[in-house]
């Protein structure tokens, strides 16, 4: 969901960009092995949520850019609403009455 959201906000990005973005947005609360992005991206490629294209970075290096597809966007909406629903439920449970 985080990957999809990042791509949704910033448009096509390479793997490193996604990692940096997630880290910044979560203000370093979410520390994951950055490498585990790649198997996840591959799985999304197979499911058709993202598309990949090789491109040039600002400093002229070759990198693979991932782009959200309409199917990915739909998936994101679903996941976000599901997540929100669960979060609200949890919040209701843990908040003092």
């Amino acid at each position: 969901m985080l990957i999809l959201r990042s791509l949704d906000r910033l448009g096509p990005m390479h793997g490193y960009g996604i990692a940096v973005h997630i880290q910044q947005m979560s203000e370093s609360v979410l520390q994951v092995e950055e490498g585990s992005l790649y198997p996840a991206l591959q799985r999304m490629l197979i499911k058709g949520w993202v598309k990949a294209e090789w491109g040039q970075t600002e400093n002229n290096r070759r990198a693979r850019y991932y782009k959200l597809t309409p199917a990915g966007r739909k998936q994101l909406t679903e996941e976000v609403s599901e997540f929100t629903r669960v979060m609200e439920a949890i919040t209701r449970v843990i908040e003092p009455a």
Partner: protein, 878 residues
């Protein structure tokens, strides 16, 4: 995403794997370098920046592999890897490979061969459409004594039933002499009724089958050829219809050709089929035909049975004199056949199952010993990150590779064994046409090979893969506890092997013993120096009884005067050839039995001198002589069994009895009592029987028996010359010595006994190898221990005893488990035994004793080696 699209994607991925890997690597390197740059920008120095980037990224190769796995087919990847590795690893150990492959080849080979028999005989008995609809319909007397049907009853069944599409008489096979095409040739033909092909559900490939009109007495003779006869005799000429064949001196018009592969138990030797041409005025009393029928669609066997019951009851009411007590039994033909041979085939199938199990156990043992030499290799692999499942899979790949090779070699063995089975099996089973390697048999072989590989490899692989890599690599050798657990597993395997061997060997022992007893049984005949052959005088040329009698009298005269011949005589039914003519027997002055089948005795006819030629003693009275001819007083000789049954307290000589009405109902005077002989199989009890003089009851076909002074087989030329001197067109049939005739009658038990003893020898060999293997292995494990013991003063004998116990204990355990199982198994083959109890003491003491001796021998060899260990060398080497 599942489905063909997915498959396609995976396939594409498999092909583009190299590119995928490169791209993945570029992408990850870019990530690492970018991160490192950023780290440097934040003030780290070069190496530290790279290192931090890497730490942050995680295990790159693993992540790369995980990405790959997302795309699927790593399993195939692994398999290819495993196979490559297995081939390399096995290649280092060719001797081990040969032993394992040969063991498995034997196990799989015999299973394939016996399965092909099971497949043919029990699973797929007929090459016809819907063979399960083909039923046999048998007359069944309440006494259970006869199962053949009279022709008139057959006609009534055929007309009155509403459950069968078609009904026909099973072909009556008979010998025909084909003349007019070069040398006179002997052929077998089958006489049947018009609907026979409709019952089987096949169509002629050329021409047609005969019609009901052509199946009447006096109709012009027609013949339908089998495919093979058509190809061989008429070169497959499509214009064969209308040509004639001269059979037994009579011209038959060819009207059709049957399809290829037309085989049916009992008629597979037939070269052609003709119309039975039976007269419908035939007596209902002559129960002589087998009937087959094809069930209508949607009708069950039970419904057919009940319809036929109704008809049989109606016939009983209409014809009380002949049909009282006669019912009908409808049953599947496959089942009828299976009942006869099924037990033998199942016993053999069970036996080969045991053989395969044994081979599995043995291979497991070998693999276990081999795994002990690989503990370090496996420990290294597992410390490099291979999971237990991955290691088990790798080792199973090896065993499956071995078992598939074993299966490949096994098929060669199976093909050879099938040839043996085809030659040895009774002809009625029609194995010639059907017992071949086919797709079902091949599928069975492949499945069995795979299963065998997995079964044999699982235990060793599991045990080997459970190693704790740390301790193994540190200890520089086997950890004691692991070796112990492996030893225990091996001991279990040996015990299992011995138990299986006990079962197989006991079964084989019982069968071999009964076979030997059956061969030794006193048949009442002196079979040495006797040659036999059959003649069948063609009816067209020898049409009168006196002509037949004269021919045989002249022939026997010639034979008796030939050099090297002591005696010669003729008999209608030769002992041990199966065919027996039955008929009623009614003593003069006694009440007629209510049912003729209750007085069923064997009828035979012989020429003067038959009893002397075959060495059958005349107990009272006299043999036939030349005066017992057409003009003489009707006489008969009875056998001892008949004398005891019908004349328990008096001398049968000079009593009169009446022949079966079907044979003319002649009143005859008994002039002699002959000793009993075994007429069917040596293992069946003698039946009451009468002999009539051949001159008073002539038949065109006869067996000639010739007693000589030397080797019986050398009389064949003498016999040929004598026959040719009288009739150059007459072929001599079934020339065999009497000893061969007796032996052939036991073909089935010989087959069972020889196959099972082959399996038993194999079992013994495997058990010996298995025990030797485990003891040798444990000795090598305990070299140091032995060295210490010897250094501390243990004697040679102490060490030998210690080691031998290692092999002997599991063997004893195996015997203890195996004997009760073998006793249970013996109960199953009880019916196949003759003169041998299923609890036979010699077998059940001898087999365990033999196995224990072999176990001791197999343990002694490595024990001796252990005891010769130089204690200093053993201690130093570790």
């Amino acid at each position: 995403m599942e489905g063909p699209g997915e498959l396609w994607r995976r396939l594409l991925f498999l092909l583009g794997r190299g590119r995928f890997n490169r791209e993945m690597e570029v992408e990850m390197r870019f990530h690492l370098e970018s991160r490192a740059e950023r780290n440097r920008a934040e003030g780290m120095d070069g190496d530290e920046a790279n290192y931090a980037a890497r730490r942050r990224f995680g295990n790159a190769p693993l992540l790369e592999e995980k990405s790959r796995e997302a795309w699927g087919w790593s399993a195939l990847d692994h398999l290819a890897q495993d196979v490559k590795f297995a081939v390399r690893s096995l290649g280092r150990n060719p001797f081990f490979v040969v032993v394992v492959v040969l063991t498995l080849a034997f196990g799989i080979g015999v299973n394939t061969a016996i399965f092909s028999a099971v497949n043919v005989l029990l699973l797929n008995p007929y090459p016809f459409p819907q063979p399960e609809r083909i039923l046999s319909v048998d007359a069944r007397h309440i006494s259970g004594k006869n199962s053949n049907t009279g022709y008139r009853d057959f006609l009534d069944w055929q007309q009155q039933n509403s459950v069968f599409d078609a009904m026909a008489i099973s072909p009556e096979t008979g010998g025909y002499t084909l003349t007019g095409q070069g040398e006179p040739q002997r052929m077998t033909g089958g006489a049947t009724t018009a609907d026979f092909l409709r019952v089987l559900g096949v169509q002629p490939v050329v021409g047609r089958f005969f019609t009901a009109d052509e199946d009447k007495p006096g109709a012009a003779p027609v013949a339908v050829l089998t495919y093979a006869t058509w190809r061989q005799r008429f070169n497959g000429d499509a214009a064969v219809v209308g040509r004639t064949m001269t059979l037994n001196g009579q011209a038959f018009t060819v009207i059709g050709v049957l399809p290829r592969g037309f085989a049916y138990p009992g008629i597979e030797t037939c070269a052609f089929f003709t119309a039975l041409g039976e007269s419908s005025s035939n007596s209902r009393n002559q129960h002589q035909y087998g009937v087959v029928a094809r069930l209508k669609a949607g009708v069950t066997v039970e419904q057919a049975q009940s319809d036929m019951n109704t008809i049989a009851q109606r016939l009983e009411r209409e014809f009380p004199a002949t049909n009282t007590g006669w019912g009908v039994k409808v049953q599947p033909t496959g089942a009828a056949l299976a009942a006869e041979t099924g037990r033998l085939v199942w016993v053999l199938f069970a036996a080969v199952g045991f053989v395969l199990l044994l081979a599995c156990v043995n291979v497991s043992g070998l693999l276990l010993a081999r795994a002990s030499g690989r503990t370090k290799e496996i420990a290294i692999r597992s410390s490099l990150g291979a999971g237990r499942g991955r290691i088990v899979r790798q080792m199973l790949t090896e065993t499956v590779l071995l078992s598939l090779s074993g299966g490949g070699v096994g098929i060669l063995l199976a093909v050879w064994l099938m040839k043996v089975l085809r030659a040895a099996a009774p002809q009625e089973l029609a194995l010639d046409a059907t017992l071949h390697l086919n797709s079902a048999v091949l599928a069975f072989t492949v499945a069995v090979s795979l299963l065998t590989g997995i079964a044999a490899g699982l235990a060793p692989a599991w045990s080997a893969s459970g190693a704790e890599p740390n301790s193994i690599l540190k200890e520089d050798g086997n950890s004691w506890s692991r070796a112990r657990s492996r030893n225990r597993l091996m001991a279990w395997l040996v015990a299992g092997e011995v138990a299986l061997s006990v079962i197989l060997m006991a079964g084989a022992g019982l069968l071999v013993k009964s076979f030997a007893l059956a061969l030794d049984v006193d048949t009442g005949l002196r079979v040495e120096h006797v040659l036999t052959f059959a003649l069948n005088l063609p009816g067209a040329k020898y049409s009168s009884d006196s002509g037949v009698s004269t021919f045989y009298r002249d022939l026997l005269e010639r034979l008796k005067n030939s050099p090297g011949v002591e005696a010669a005589a003729g008999v209608m039914t030769l002992p041990m050839t199966g065919g027996v003519t039955g008929g009623a027997f009614q003593v003069e002055g006694r009440a007629k039995a209510p049912d003729w089948v209750d007085t069923l005795v064997q009828y035979n006819a012989s020429t003067p001198g038959y009893f002397g030629t075959m060495g059958i003693p005349i107990l009272r009275g006299r043999d036939f002589n030349e005066q017992d001819n057409e003009a003489g007083l009707p006489v008969a000789i009875v056998n001892d069994a008949l004398a005891r049954q019908y004349f328990p307290n008096e001398d049968p000589i000079r009593h009169r009895y009446r022949d079966d009405p079907a044979y003319g109902g002649q009143w005859r005077t008994i002039v002699g009592v002959a000793a009993n002989i075994q007429h069917q199989q040596p293992t069946k009890p003698p039946m009451p029987g009468v002999y009539l003089p051949h001159a008073q009851w002539p038949a065109n076909s006869m067996w000639i028996t010739v007693r000589g002074r030397g080797d019986a087989a050398q009389l064949a030329e003498t016999a040929r010359t004598a026959v040719r001197g009288l009739d150059g067109d007459l072929p001599l049939l079934k020339i065999r010595t009497m000893r061969e005739v007796v032996g052939d009658s036991l073909a089935e038990s010989r087959l069972a006994a020889s196959l099972l003893s082959g399996f038993a020898v194999f079992a013994l060999l495997l058990a010996a190898i298995g025990i030797y293997g485990i003891v040798d292995y444990s000795v090598r494990q305990r070299r140091r221990e032995m060295g210490i013991r010897m250094a501390l003063g243990a004697t040679y004998g102490d060490v030998v005893a210690l080691v031998v116990r290692k092999g002997a204990l599991p063997a004893v355990a195996g015997v203890v488990v195996g004997v009760p199982l073998a006793l249970a198994g013996a109960g199953v083959i009880r019916a196949m035994l003759y003169g041998t109890s299923p609890r036979d003491l010699t077998v059940f003491l001898g087999v365990p004793a033999l196995l224990l001796v072999v176990a001791l021998g197999a343990s002694y060899l490595p024990a001796r080696r252990a005891a010769k260990v130089d204690s200093m060398a053993a201690l130093r080497c570790e």
